[in-house]
Each structure stands twice: as structure tokens, then as C-alpha cells.
Symmetry: C2
Subunit: 125 residues, 2 copies
């Protein structure tokens, strides 16, 4: 499974590619967006802080593990760090797979593991 | 839940929007791609045929039902009909939701129901 993991302070831009390599029957793209309302009060954004080398390594490790159960062709993870204004994406995950269920399974489980295990923290500035 | 359902002979183009309305914490886009290999042999594409008024009505009905269990903000369904070359998308689903689990749940179940209940047929030309 090809993987690409990037932490960046730049604004994340999606771009669903609907022309895909042979054998790929499903492309899923997920964007996690900072919501303007958090815990009942309005916020302008969130600050994300990461222990970067370990965060990247941990994401790669999770993807390797998940690839055994949900074998996909390719997974791309982009996580924004620093200030993320409300309405913008803090994370973007793009998966290519032969079949949709493998892509859905990997995506769901990856997001749970990311929030639980990866040293990236968010706070209201 | 806002819904938009379209059947078209045009090539489907995605376009992940990472700037989203307040309250929306998750955007998921799924493309189902025609694979160049189908049942062990190479194909140039698939032909999709739909009983269009009923297909559209049935998709809307499924979305209405799923909205009760997986309440999302908006769902857009684009299904291509006619000839779809291998490597191109036959379906595109775009979901906006407050939380990712609602979007994932709706997407998974919608795709199962679509293939089971909606009068759209595919065949190797």
C-alpha cells in the first residue's frame, strides 16, 4: 500500500481525482473541518500542535497495521498544524482501493486511531 | 437534509470543497470507478442504463430513510449513465455532516441500498 503523510501549516486543498489507475474501483476523500461552534460557543478557529517526527511515524505505523485488515492501493494523509480558521480543514485523507468497503473500513478506523494515538493536540486559542 | 440527485451522460468531476458552512465538521466524497479488469478479463468500459424517473425517485426515497438514522447536512448524488470508460467514475457521492460518523454511516448504507434497490443496470458492451 502506497502511503504519503504530510504535516503542514498550509491550507489543505482537496481535489477528487475521478480518473484513476487500473484496478482502482473506489476513491474516498475525507475532510475534517474545524467547526465554528465548539462546545456551545463560537470560535474563530483552533490551534493544532504536533510532535512532528513522532506524529508522522505513528501515522505510518497505524496505516501499516490497517493495511493488513483493509488492503488499499494508496492512502494520503495531510494534517494541518498551527492555526486553522473555522470552516477550514484540519485533516484530509484520500484513499484509493480496489473495492469501496476496504476504503471505508480503513478510513473509519484510521480516524479513530489518529485521534487516540497520534501526538497532535488542538486547543481554542 | 438537503439532497441533490442527478443522472447524467457527462463525465463526473469531483471537487472536494474544504471551505464549508458553519456546523459542518466532515465532508466525504466517494467516487465509484469502472475498473479495467472485470471478472478476470480486460474491459474498455461499462454501459449503464437507468429507468431514470424511478431511479431518481428511489434514490431520494433511500436518502430520506437514511437521514433518520444518519442525519447529515447535505448529500449530493451524481450517477453517470450511458458508456463509462474504464478508469472513470460511474458514481459520485458527496456528503456534508456535523460529525464524520454520520457521514460514513450514510455513505456505506447508501451504496448498499443503491446497488440493491435502484433501477440502474450495468453491462459490458
Amino acid at each position: 500500500m502506497r502511503t504519503s503523510v504530510q504535516l503542514t501549516t498550509e491550507r489543505l486543498a482537496g481535489g477528487m481525482v475521478t480518473k484513476s489507475p487500473a484496478g482502482c474501483g473506489a476513491v474516498v476523500e475525507f475532510a475534517g473541518i474545524v467547526r465554528a461552534m465548539e462546545g456551545g460557543r463560537e470560535i474563530a478557529g483552533l490551534d493544532y500542535e504536533a510532535y512532528e517526527p513522532m506524529a508522522r511515524r505513528e501515522i505510518e505505523r497505524i496505516l501499516d497495521e490497517l493495511a493488513v485488515v483493509h488492503p488499499c492501493e494508496a492512502v494520503e494523509v495531510l494534517h494541518r498544524v498551527g492555526h486553522v480558521p473555522a470552516g477550514e480543514a484540519s485533516i484530509l485523507v484520500r484513499i484509493e482501493a480496489a473495492h469501496r468497503m476496504e476504503a471505508f473500513g480503513l478510513l473509519e478506523e484510521f480516524m479513530i486511531r489518529l485521534k487516540r494515538d497520534v501526538p497532535i493536540w488542538k486547543r481554542v486559542p
